[in-house]
Amino acid sequence: MEPNGGQPLLSLRNVTMQFGGLTALDDFSLELAPGELLGLIGPNGAGKTTVFNVITGQFAPTRGRILFQGRDITGWRPDRVTAAGIARTFQNIRLFGGLSVLENVLVAYHVRLRSGVLGAIFRSRLYRREEEQMRREGMALLERVGLAEVAREEAHGLPYGQQRRLEIARALATHPRLLLLDEPAAGMNPEETRQLMGFIQHIRREFQLTILLIEHDMQLVMGICERIRVLDYGQSIAEGTPEQIQRNPRVIQAYLGQAEADEEGQGARHDVAG
């Protein structure tokens, strides 16, 4: 890990995202050093997921630039961004429900397939080798994340916690250097959240990942992030270590307005997610 001085893995420079008259992200800048684990927090509707969507190419930003490993990836299509080494999970789980757990992971390997369509249809030697290789790698990956026993089951039949885990595994299968996790603990109970924390730290070490994490669960954010950035109404309002953020008056103020709504929302969110 190179904490300072080295080239940042990802940098967002003055990114603004507007939808019609609504400014979802306003002049937002961010740098991520290789190996870092940064938490992105903020009240509902602060623009956190929008940050992910502009990084992964879901939306092209209205203004500003996005650089990954020194390359300008602003406005790239999502599949090219993924191929460049950025993977993500979704806030509302988006698995390929009708496909098996293993197939979910195999889809992520497809981008690296060298055989052409005809090779695949006629099962050329190269294709057969690649397919076998993919399956071996896929099973090994599932083993590493503890999903090997359910490899043949359909994804939508998995329990909630395993679905979250599979989404992360699928992202890992694209061989990312940067992993974007969008509220991975949403809908989990404290025990599951504790397990998830361990899991995130585990894959971070094992796959040498840089991680950008959106999360509402403060236990998780404060527990594993080295640095936290706070968004409110599309603007950065604070950045610092967990301790600094917890004491920051602006952050407290931004969250106070939300506190009541969040308490009411907690139970509901659990229902929706479960």
Partner: protein, 297 residues
């Protein structure tokens, strides 16, 4: 082309366009609420024409009674279709709904072929429509004047319903956010049924006026007018009733004037309209007046 001919063609295009507008309303309102392309809508137009044909031509009811009765009965058919074929699929993927709509379309057409037969039937046209009218020094058929005028009256009535009545407000609310409206305690299914009723009644009006203009009716008569009306809805911005009206008139004018100026291309007029449809879907899918639809990620 002489000025008189030009005026005639212009009026012709206007009357055709106003008919497309009437039918396009049904497409656009149903799409606005259910995101469903109601494939069967063109066939409802046909059903309306046949109901009027039987009321007037077979039971000899007067027009002042037949017209409202036809609108009412056709509205009933529309509501019935929604109740039986579409409502059970509300929470299913939209493609299931679309396939069902294709099925309903074929069912109506073939029920028509079985019950009333494939042969063309002569539509009873009231004298007022048949007699010529002088306008701006040009002699034009009554239909070219009366059809757009009556259509306009219906369209104004519709705008009044949508923007000035409680039911209209409910419809607009549902098309904006169906879940929120449901949470607020509104009976969404009833509002949707009402939408189908209005759309179908206007299609029936369109079917009757169409049959004044082209007084030979058959069970497949709804297919092409239906698609052109759909194109009109897309051109105007699908989901937007005012847009559907503008789109309808535009498509009507373009169709008639193209054929008038380039008679050799008359065989291609349908292909022409479909090309406009594809072009609009591609270059301006939101149409002239539509708001962009965004998918939430």
């Amino acid at each position: 082309m002489s000025l008189q001919e030009f005026i005639q063609q212009l009026l012709n295009g206007l009357s055709l366009g106003s008919l497309y507008a009437l039918v396009a309303i049904g497409y656009t309102m149903v799409y606005g609420i259910l995101r469903l392309i109601n494939f069967a809508h063109g066939d409802i137009f046909m059903v309306g024409a046949y109901i009027a044909f039987y009321l007037v031509g077979v039971f000899y009811l007067p027009w002042w009674l037949s017209l409202p009765l036809t609108l009412l009965l056709t509205a009933g058919v529309g509501v019935l279709i929604d109740r039986v074929a579409y409502r059970p699929l509300r929470n299913e993927p939209r493609i299931s709904l679309l396939i069902t709509a294709v099925g309903v379309s074929f069912l109506l057409e073939n029920l028509g072929l079985v019950t009333v037969g494939a042969r063309q039937k002569g539509f009873p046209v009231p004298g007022m429509m048949a007699s010529p009218v002088r306008i701006l020094g040009a002699q034009v058929g009554g239909v070219s004047i009366w059809v757009p005028l009556i259509s306009l009256a219906f369209l104004l009535l519709l705008l009044w319903v949508i923007y000035r009545t409680k039911a209209g407000m409910a419809m607009r609310a549902v098309s904006r956010d169906i879940e929120a409206t449901r949470l607020m305690g509104a009976d969404v299914d009833r509002i949707i049924a009402f939408t189908f009723a209005i759309g179908s009644a206007l299609a029936a009006a369109g079917g009757i006026l169409w049959s004044f203009k082209y007084p030979q009716i058959n069970p497949l008569m709804g297919i092409y007018p239906g698609w052109k009306a759909f194109t009109a809805a897309v051109v105007g911005g699908i989901g937007n009733p005012t847009g559907a009206m503008i789109g309808g008139v535009l498509i009507g004018l373009v169709e008639v004037l193209t054929v008038a100026f380039f008679p050799t291309l008359s065989g291609y007029r349908d292909a022409f309209v479909f090309s406009i449809l594809i072009l609009f879907l591609l270059l301006r899918p939101t149409g002239l007046l539509g708001e962009p639809l965004k998918e939430k990620v």
